[in-house]
Subunit: 190 residues, 2 copies
């Protein structure tokens, strides 16, 4: 196995275990076993568990942003851009269920708290969204509410329905996704 492959394998093993079992169910020994390497080997690639976990998060976030940006209609109307963003978000989440589960575990762990303190916004992705929302508010298309509230109205439900889909409570077809994103649009628009 190539050096790079091995690192990838370890990251993937950590991602899967944390996503499926939470941090309690993902000790280093188990990550090593799942990756098919010795426990000590992990420390050749990451200097401690924190580093590994943060690296997994970084990669997941990266993929996430990339997915959201794909095919983004920069020149479209506010409504078009909003609907696109919402649908793409849900499709990405349900197509990569482990990533959503991992992010949720991460955010509700000591890592997440630290992460929140360190970052507090500033993503490329967030910037685009912020741009879209600011524009929509200025043009009086959206309700005159805090950005945080508009975010909550748009993405809160989308993440929730994605989780419900992943956990098998509902089955989201493309049509259902569009209807749900449409409902979010109704929530934010004037």
């Amino acid at each position: 196995m190539e050096k790079c492959d091995k690192k990838e394998t370890i990251i993937q093993a950590a991602l899967e275990l944390v996503a499926e079992q939470g941090f309690h169910g993902a000790p280093m020994a188990m990550i090593a076993e799942k990756a098919g390497v010795g426990a000590g080997t992990i420390y050749r690639y990451f200097d401690c568990k924190d580093t590994l976990i943060k690296e997994v998060y970084r990669i997941v976030e990266e993929r996430f942003v990339a997915a959201l940006m794909e095919g983004y209609p920069e020149k479209g109307s506010v409504r078009e851009r909003f609907l696109h963003m919402g649908a793409v978000l849900v499709r990405h989440l349900i197509q990569a269920p482990l990533e959503l589960r991992f992010i949720e575990q991460f955010h509700n762990s000591p890592y997440g708290v630290i992460h929140r303190r360190e970052k507090l916004f500033g993503d490329k992705e967030k910037d685009i969204i912020r741009e879209l929302f600011d524009e929509a508010r200025q043009q009086q298309i959206f309700k005159d509410l805090d950005l945080s509230i508009l975010f909550a109205l748009s993405f809160g439900p989308l993440v929730d329905v994605s989780r419900d889909h992943i956990l098998g409570f509902i089955n989201l077809s493309d049509q259902l996704i569009e209807q749900t994103v449409g409902a979010c649009w109704d929530a934010v628009r004037r």
Copy 2:
């Protein structure tokens, strides 16, 4: 200190520590210290940590349901009942911030997974809400979507904005709460 007081004190200490620091930051020794009792004493009231944590959850949930039911306008229109439920939900969450944080920690922990498996619906509170939503859908007031999706559209954002308020990102006034619940109404209504 009365026997009952002591049990209460332990429960409160556990609630606060878990809510503020997560399960990682709430070892039994620390819970004992915060409650002002010896570590062993806890085991006179709870036979293990699991039992203690589940008891805390039970109490928090109980208070939560009680808060939601208070002043519920059973005879009001669908819209009135919806708006009332939403506003009361948010007010309770931001007035008892530790309870929201505890519930979130609980759900994203091994306890939460087990809990989900064991219960899978069936609350008094959920029943009332389900009733309201079913009625609204039958009367064609709500969009024709799965109950889970309607839940996500209504309560997802409300929990999110409550969290944002607790964490200090926004400041929810009564007026803002009403506007936000109103926006959720827009999301679910036809």
